[in-house]
Symmetry: C2
Subunit: 411 residues, 2 copies
């Protein structure tokens, strides 16, 4: 299925996510760009399903993103259509028309209103995407909807991904088992300016749409918005959450309900797990890197410094080369434009202190640091010594694989 | 000399810059990092030489940058010492001490005050640089100062550069021939947040330091500050200009002197030529790209959009792959966070209109566009259709060469 070798950071196995009452789906081969693989996902939600979402802030957002933005305030969902291979972005009036027609087809197939159908498209930008591609495909898919296996929708939405991304959580609320399932896709054009590319989360928890929206917005900041592969932000970034309400507990109607906290934590675990999987499938990635910044003047400042480090091509190529080049971390701190005092700066690679008080740490051990760099999961920590602000950004290394994948994506 | 193959964009020949009265120099092998090549430049200026400079805005600036910042307000210069192989950045109190001692050595060798000596260092960050390296070397160099050939200082300051960078201008002011010579180094860690890496410009024009400073600041914005190789900003970026005043015309004492405009234009030509050479020697570069943005709400907004495009790894890898992937240009416009209206956007590759009114241009010719991408110098133009703001940013493509060079720079 994958045009490129599977990421060395791919999981050894995939979680066997359970069915979630009120959610059924089918995938299909529409031949939009890829051959001999599924490229369309149709998902149906029972009546009463609430919806929330976080969409790209790109000024050139795709037609599907515009569609979701228009329908999210309704807060209800009955269907979801996702295709891979064509982003339907920068396709003008044709793209807008295509999106409306696709929602119509799906609404007819599912027996609901078009405004209750959410849409997402991912793939090449600027190629018109004809709604004709979907007409028969959606009707046929609607005849064979199932509740499992969840790996199928995860596969259908892949583009340059080398493995499908799934995550789930089961928690207990009021003595009742509540489930959260999530899938995501994304490998390049990944930057933490918004939710990355596509991710869909469903739960059987009864929860009002505004509460679901608030929890999603809160937890996206430390998950999908805290990852970067290449600092490029997609036109199509879409994270949608759907709650069928079938779990048989009293609904959460307010963020002040103490159960919102419990549910939010589980939601956050699923989002972060999916976000990390996106980084581990970053185009050409051979290492996963967590960049921690502490002691900043604020959390926001810490985040911008962490992002400056995680986005730096020089830091990322050094990591690819297993070179403990902490001088480039200094450079990236310096260019971030945030408050920093060179002479208070300390840097750790894992537990190894490499720099302190603005110079190489006394007792710096090049051999130990180089050995640490050979690991597959690396932790870089920068201590600014200025305040209490802290943040973590997750990224991967920058390798020949990234160049190869992106030098010939369209051809 | 170069550890990596010479850039395919290297010039076929180098200008034979003339002597400039009041300027002499020598280069030497101090063995700081490189073997069998010069790595130290000592330059001497006659009494009466004015100085101006633009330095990195990095919060982690090098000891040499701090030294220059402290001495620039004096506005006079008698000497310049530059070394390659070690940036003396993030070297704490030792670095500060080393810089003061180096200035002392140079002042003794040249017979001037240490505060009249300017310093610049480039190379690895975080390695202590002992001033002992310079003691005998500077004394010896001072015994064999010459006025030419200018290619020698250009070579001595190279690091990962694959060719020396020189540029000059001869202009007539008040019927007298006035000369400007410039050299630069830089190949990676290049971003337009400040003058890039190192560049030194000398002229025999009599010009007051504040006027020289004003002209330098004005013209750096559209030259060194308008280039990017990898979006990474160095800790050591330094652009210094020295004016010996030997040209035998009345000095320029004010920016309102109409001759300041004439001189400034020639200065700008030299700065831009040097800046373009840095891009053409960008690590791994195989293509030079000019990104023009027009129709923005302001020049500053146009610049930020142009930089977003020029910094985008996805745009740069597509160019490396000779892929006319204008959808990635749309993406980079969208992520810039500046005012843009998708449905008014037009994009040209060279003279070829590829997108218009927010979608693929009618009559878009994939074959012609692909053929254009095979060129060595490319022009991308984005028209926003919102206002009169315009800017140009110069960059290169992102290739396997960049990864190779930066994956093992220290080792």
């Amino acid at each position: 299925m994958a045009a490129h070798p599977v990421s060395p950071l791919a999981p050894k196995s995939y979680p066997d996510l359970p069915e979630i009452a009120g959610v059924r789906f089918a995938t299909a081969e529409a031949g939009i760009k890829y051959k001999n693989r599924t490229d369309v996902l149709l998902m149906a939600f029972d009546e009463g399903t609430t919806a929330a979402g976080v969409l790209t802030r790109s000024k050139c957002s795709s037609a599907a993103v515009d569609w979701c933005r228009a329908n999210l305030p309704g807060g209800v969902a009955r269907g979801l259509v996702v295709n891979s291979g064509n982003a339907n972005a920068f396709t003008g009036a044709k793209g807008k028309q295509s999106v409306a027609m696709t929602a119509d087809y799906a609404a007819k197939a599912l027996g609901c209103s078009p405004s209750e159908v959410f849409l997402a498209s991912t793939g090449v930008i600027g190629e018109p995407l004809s709604a004709d591609k979907f007409a028969g495909v959606l009707d046929e898919a609607a005849t064979r909807m199932a509740e499992t296996p969840w790996i199928e929708p995860a596969k259908a939405i892949m583009t340059t991904d080398t493995f499908p991304k799934l995550s789930g959580a089961i928690l207990e609320i009021d003595g009742v088992e509540v489930k959260i399932n999530g899938i995501a896709k994304g490998s390049g054009m990944i930057a933490p300016d918004m939710a990355t590319m596509l991710s869909f989360v469903v739960t059987d928890m009864p929860i009002a749409a505004p509460v679901l929206q608030a929890l999603l917005a809160r937890h996206v900041d430390t998950s999908f918005n805290a990852i970067t592969v290449d600092s490029d932000t997609s036109t199509s970034d879409t994270l949608l959450a759907f709650a069928t309400g079938k779990a048989g507990v009293e609904p959460i109607q307010s963020v002040d309900d103490p159960r919102a906290e419990t549910f939010g934590e589980a939601l956050r675990d699923v989002l972060l797990d999916l976000a990390i999987q996106v980084v581990r499938d970053g185009e050409g990635a051979t290492k996963q890197v967590s960049v921690h910044v502490e002691g900043a003047t604020s959390d926001a400042s810490a985040f911008r410094i962490a992002k400056s480090i995680a986005d730096s091509p020089l830091v990322k190529t050094a990591i690819a080369g297993e070179d403990a080049n902490w001088g480039r971390v200094v450079m990236a701190v310096g260019k971030a434009g945030e408050p920093a005092d060179r002479d208070k700066l300390a840097i750790r690679f894992g537990d190894l202190l490499v720099a302190k008080d603005g110079e190489r740490a006394p007792g710096y051990d090049e051999a130990a640091t180089s050995a640490y760099m050979k690991g597959e999961e690396l932790e870089l920590t920068v201590s600014l010594g200025l305040g209490e602000g802290r943040a973590t950004v997750y990224t991967c290394d920058l390798t020949h694989g990234y160049i190869t994948i992106n030098g010939d994506y369209r051809s």
